[in-house]
């Protein structure tokens, strides 16, 4: 049933590589009317967080005719993931595998990519190196800090005290960037806004996340946001205390019917549809997809009851600005020890933001 048209362009372009691939039953050089895409999650697919954000995108992909989706949850970042990938290839004939957890990449995704050159593997983090890593592997990731900026705008106008709280996992670049963007969003509408941050030290530690949320509320914060794997505990704890919340990773509206403002979400379905489309047409699956608001890679959760009319209007305008390339980081900006860290205007995708290791002035807390 499968069409076996070899794309001339690719054959000419890649020569022997394409020939080798065409000997594979589901090689990249074939157009296909049926493809199988596998996704592997490190936690449960309904965790109200990182894993759910991917599972939600896979559910969208499932609606695409000709695409069958296979999923595995709770796969540890050990050789178990290598075997899960192989199992999807051997038993399900997977053409593309999406490895969604950071620790899956090295060595597991790399090993499987080398071992199965006819299968495409894509990993969700900026780790793929075009010079050293297999060409059938690749990376995709989103600049979620843009959506956290929008969170900040909405939070700044929904807060009465101007004191915002942020429960953070670890002081690594992605988390710091989200926290800093949250502050800048809030300050764009309320120059006196502050963000108090507490690091829990772990991507998933529900007890400490609840403690941190309570501590921030006790310190006077009236909007709480977070960057932990699953924000469920943070959102529910704040809601129970009657405090407003901004979400992270997945849609958490239902967890806080009274206080939810909006949330920062990655829109993985954009990427997954690009992959599926390329596989169906027999075109090269892009090795690297990254982006933010300008290419629909991030989004904000629809406003909840906690968002004031001003907040909704300003956040919607902020999204429009980000789509048009309006920069978040506009210097001079100091870190919270007083050192100037950003001089001028920095593009939202500038490489210098990738090495961020500071908290901006206006954030109460420390990375150490």
């Amino acid at each position: 049933m499968m069409k076996t048209l070899i794309s001339r362009r690719r054959l000419l372009k890649n020569g022997a590589a394409a020939l080798a691939a065409s000997t594979m039953p589901f090689g990249a050089a074939h157009a296909a009317d049926k493809i199988t895409i596998g996704a592997i999650y490190v936690g449960t697919r309904d965790d109200f967080g990182w894993n759910q954000s991917h599972a939600a995108a896979m559910d969208i992909l499932r609606q695409v005719p000709g695409v069958s989706v296979v999923e595995e949850e709770n796969v540890a970042e050990t050789d178990a993931v290598a075997k899960s990938m192989e199992s999807m290839i051997n038993f399900d004939g997977a053409n593309l595998i999406l490895a969604t957890s950071f620790g899956y990449y090295n060595p597991f995704v790399l090993d499987i990519a080398t071992q199965y050159p006819g299968v495409q593997l894509r990993h969700c983090a900026p780790l793929w190196n075009p010079d050293t890593d297999p060409q059938n592997a690749g990376s995709y990731f989103s600049y979620l800090n843009q959506a956290h900026y929008v969170n900040g705008v909405a939070a700044g106008l929904s807060s009465i005290s101007g004191k915002l709280g942020f429960v953070a996992a670890k002081p690594v670049q992605t988390v710091l960037s989200n926290c800093n963007s949250f502050l800048l969003g809030a300050r764009s509408v309320n120059p006196n806004a502050t963000v108090q941050v507490i690091f829990t030290g772990s991507w998933s530690m529900p007890v400490r996340e609840a403690e941190a949320t309570n501590a921030l509320i006790d310190a006077g914060c009236d909007v709480i946001s977070c960057h932990v794997d699953s924000p469920k505990v943070v959102i529910e704890t704040a809601e129970a205390r009657g405090v407003k919340t901004c979400g992270h990773n997945a849609d958490q509206r239902d967890l806080a019917p009274n206080g939810f403002i909006t949330g920062a979400e990655s829109n993985w379905s954009t990427t997954y549809k690009i992959y599926a489309d390329a596989l169906m047409k027999g075109e090269t699956v892009p090795n690297l997809i990254a982006g933010g608001y300008h290419n629909d890679m991030v989004m904000n959760t629809p406003f909840g009851a906690g968002a004031t009319p001003d907040a909704r209007a300003a956040a919607t305008a902020a999204i429009k600005g980000l789509k048009g390339g309006k920069p978040i980081y506009v210097g001079p900006l100091k870190d919270n020890t007083g050192k100037i860290v950003i001089e001028g205007e920095v593009d939202n995708y500038a490489p210098e933001l990738e090495t961020m290791n500071y908290l901006l002035e206006g954030i109460i807390g420390s990375t150490t």
Binding site: V70, E71, E72, A76, A80, S84, M88, F91
Partner: protein, 372 residues
């Protein structure tokens, strides 16, 4: 096996039957097998209640765990760490100690081997010397860690179950502290890890398979520990102490040293598992070392009734369940927790079956000696 036992000689009037050792062996096989079968039936009811087909479930376990060369390798790979952590529970259990410290010893052993490799790697040491040093370091660190629980138990009266469990949490915290602090490789941005081992400094796979050498090592260690526990004075003394501590003390057996040594052996097994996780799987130490192998090993040892040799097939069984778990998620659209339910049912059924020993009429084992 062929030695005549004193008790059978002493009862010549009874009708000829299998010697007690064989009877005990049959009993020790029939009861766990029966328990497994009962678990399968109970689990089938659970599946039927969910509207799922139990036959499909077990055929998928077969497909995913046994039916093909890939499936077998998948099973063996997942069994490899479980053999060593299963032994880590089984050995001290023979002396009557319930130790939950394997996870901690695995984590610290793995970390220690990753750290000691760094100066050797940078100093250009030969790999054939370096890898054994890494393995021994892992065993020493793991052994010392769990040995501490044995020492606390005997010399300070601290409950070894609690102390070893708490030591596990401390071990994981120490590992995180060091990996995220002084020993962090600056290149590991979002997932703190130690400096990666070079490609030469890795333990490879058993030729022709995708299973690392940890499996073969586990098999050898299981055999050695079986000899130690069943065929040496050390094992004999340990079993006496496990059966009746005061009697052992009255006999003048060095109970304290036996306890500490058993715990140290246990820790060394788990530490060795940690070495293979670092040298064969991850190539560095990081939070992924705490993958619950130490805790699954407890189930394995229980099902094996603390017999070092029986740990091996039981580890294969758990390996097969883990290997087929993904297929079951994908084909039957069931959550991963399904396999945990099955494991839980097996565990409870098995503990219940313990009460059957010595009570099966067709296996009257009144003469079975000191078998537990």
């Amino acid at each position: 096996m062929s030695l005549p036992s004193a008790s059978s000689v002493a009862r010549p009037h009874r009708k000829p039957r299998l010697d007690p050792r064989s009877l005990a062996l049959i009993e020790a096989s029939v009861i766990p097998m029966g328990a497994l079968l009962a678990s399968a039936l109970i689990f089938s009811l659970f599946l039927l209640m969910l509207g799922k087909d139990p036959i499909r479930f077990f055929s998928l376990v077969w497909t995913g765990g046994v039916a093909s060369s890939f499936s077998i390798q998948n099973t063996l790979q997942r069994a490899a760490p479980l053999i060593l952590t299963g032994l880590a529970f089984a050995v001290p259990a023979r002396i009557g100690m319930t130790l939950l410290g394997a996870e901690g010893a695995l984590v610290l052993g793995g970390l220690a081997s990753a750290l000691i490799a760094i100066p050797m790697m940078l100093g250009g040491w030969p790999v054939w010397l370096g890898l054994p040093i890494m393995a021994l370091t892992a065993m020493a660190v793991g052994g010392a860690w769990v040995g501490l629980a044995g020492w606390l138990r005997h010399y300070r009266g601290v409950n070894e179950t609690i102390s070893s469990l708490l030591l596990t949490y401390i071990a994981v915290a120490i590992m995180n502290f060091l990996v995220e602090g002084v020993f962090r490789d600056p290149g590991s941005t979002n997932k703190a890890s130690t400096m990666p081992l070079g490609p030469d400094w890795r333990v490879g796979d058993i030729p022709g398979t995708s299973v690392h050498w940890g499996l073969a090592t586990g098999l050898i260690i299981a055999a050695l520990l079986w000899v130690l526990m069943e065929r040496t004075t050390f094992g004999f003394s340990a079993r006496i102490a496990g059966g009746n501590l005061r009697a052992a003390q009255a006999q003048g057996l060095p109970v304290g040293r036996l306890a500490v040594a058993s715990c140290a052996i246990a820790g060394a097994c788990a530490g060795l598992a940690g070495f293979f996780e670092v040298a064969a799987v991850h190539g560095q130490a990081n939070a992924s070392l705490a993958a619950q192998y130490g805790f699954t090993g407890i189930l394995v040892a229980f099902l094996a009734r603390q017999n070092p040799l029986a740990v091996v097939p039981v580890a294969f069984l758990f390996g097969a369940l883990a290997a087929s778990g993904g297929l079951i998620q994908r084909r039957m659209e069931m959550p991963d927790a399904t396999m945990l339910v099955l494991q839980g049912i097996i565990f409870v059924t098995l503990l219940t079956s313990e009460s059957l020993y010595g009570r099966l009429p067709f296996l009257s084992v009144s003469q079975a000696g000191d078998r537990t």
